[in-house]
């Protein structure tokens, strides 16, 4: 991760010079661009709409399940016992996995248009924050899952984390939608 950041930051400088027509693209950009994945997405007229459809499906699965858990913790649909709802979480990870894979395809298709895009960078940062927030929930307040039966009210801290989760995921969607416009 650290290496990647250094590479990315280094690449920004290279691109800045590139605008002035001085040097070639950063090797990392060239590497991603020249992967078979990138070549396939650029060559196929169906690849991009197909990948985008999968990306939206993954998003819906991920945010639908995480959002349902968050809403329950916030006190909405309090009759829902959290343990069985939480057992749907592997499907949310399936959604996330689909989106990481399709996301890599998007980036390889035109690396420079993503890696130097401020909306893309904010989106990646927000996903990282959403992950840490979920980890905080799981390790900090959601230790005894079976105890969260029907009608049980969550602690204030659990509610704050869940409210943050919803807001962060909405921000992720927003940043994602702005990638094409920045």
């Amino acid at each position: 991760m650290g290496d990647l950041l250094v590479t990315a930051v280094g690449a920004v400088d290279v691109i800045a010079q590139n605008v002035a027509g001085q040097v070639d693209p950063h090797p990392f950009v060239t590497f991603l661009h020249d992967t078979p994945i990138g070549a396939w997405v650029r060559a196929s007229s169906w690849a991009f709409p197909f990948l985008e459809s999968m990306h939206f499906l993954g998003m819906t699965l991920l945010i639908g399940i995480v959002g349902a858990i968050d809403l329950r913790v916030l006190g909405f649909a309090r009759a829902v016992p959290l343990a069985p709802l939480h057992r749907l979480l592997p499907l949310a990870f399936v959604g996330f996995g689909i989106n990481v894979i399709t996301g890599i395809f998007f980036v390889c298709h035109n690396p420079a248009s993503y890696l130097f895009n401020i909306a893309f960078r904010i989106k990646m940062l927000l996903i990282l924050i959403a992950g840490l927030n979920a980890l905080w929930f799981r390790l900090g307040v959601f230790l005894d899952i079976e105890a969260w039966g029907p009608g049980i009210e969550a602690s204030r801290l659990a509610k704050v984390i869940s409210a943050l989760s919803i807001l962060i995921w909405i921000a992720v969607i927003t940043a994602g939608r702005y990638i094409g416009f920045t």
Partner: protein, 165 residues
């Protein structure tokens, strides 16, 4: 009808929609999608037998958020439509998308009134019938198709006016 749509398409309102407001409306449409379809997926999966420990009736309050997502998307969708109404009406993909949404909504309404709204929220688990499970599977298929059709619309409808991905 045609002249009304043409007037909309050529209005400064449609121009404003296609410029600065466009990414904002798209964002609302995407968040609405996550709420509407995401929570319906959770309900459909439970009807199909996943997360069995949850009483089906305990999920009924999620339907309020589902309808919120629906109205967010009906409104944002109408605004997107106004950018280029003639092209949308002419698009087979658009007709498919609306049909999938219509069937998906009817199923949501049927499952809500025949299953989720029946009995006490805290009542022990009642098992959905085979017919209800079939409807839940059809619901997932409809919403997946609606999403795919919606994605394709960005290419068939907006590609030549330079909007979209």
């Amino acid at each position: 009808m045609h002249s009304v749509l043409l007037t909309i398409q050529n209005s400064s309102f449609a121009f404003w929609l296609s410029q600065g407001a466009y990414p904002i409306i798209l964002t609302i449409h995407s968040v609405g999608l996550a709420l509407l379809v995401g929570l319906l997926f959770v309900i459909d999966l439970r009807v199909l037998g996943l997360g069995r420990g949850m009483p089906v009736a305990s999920l009924r309050r999620f339907m309020k958020v589902v309808w919120l997502g629906f109205w967010a998307n009906a409104i944002s969708g109408t605004l997107l439509f106004c950018i280029s109404p003639l092209k949308f009406l002419d698009s087979t993909t658009f007709r498919f998308k609306l049909s999938f949404i219509f069937v998906g909504l009817v199923i949501a309404w049927v499952l809500n009134s025949s299953l989720l709204k029946v009995g006490d929220e805290y009542a022990p688990i009642s098992n959905p019938t085979v017919r209800q499970r079939a409807l839940a599977a059809l619901s997932i298929a409809c919403w997946v198709s609606a999403i795919v059709a919606g994605r394709l619309l960005a290419y068939t409808t907006f590609a030549d006016i330079g909007i979209g991905e």
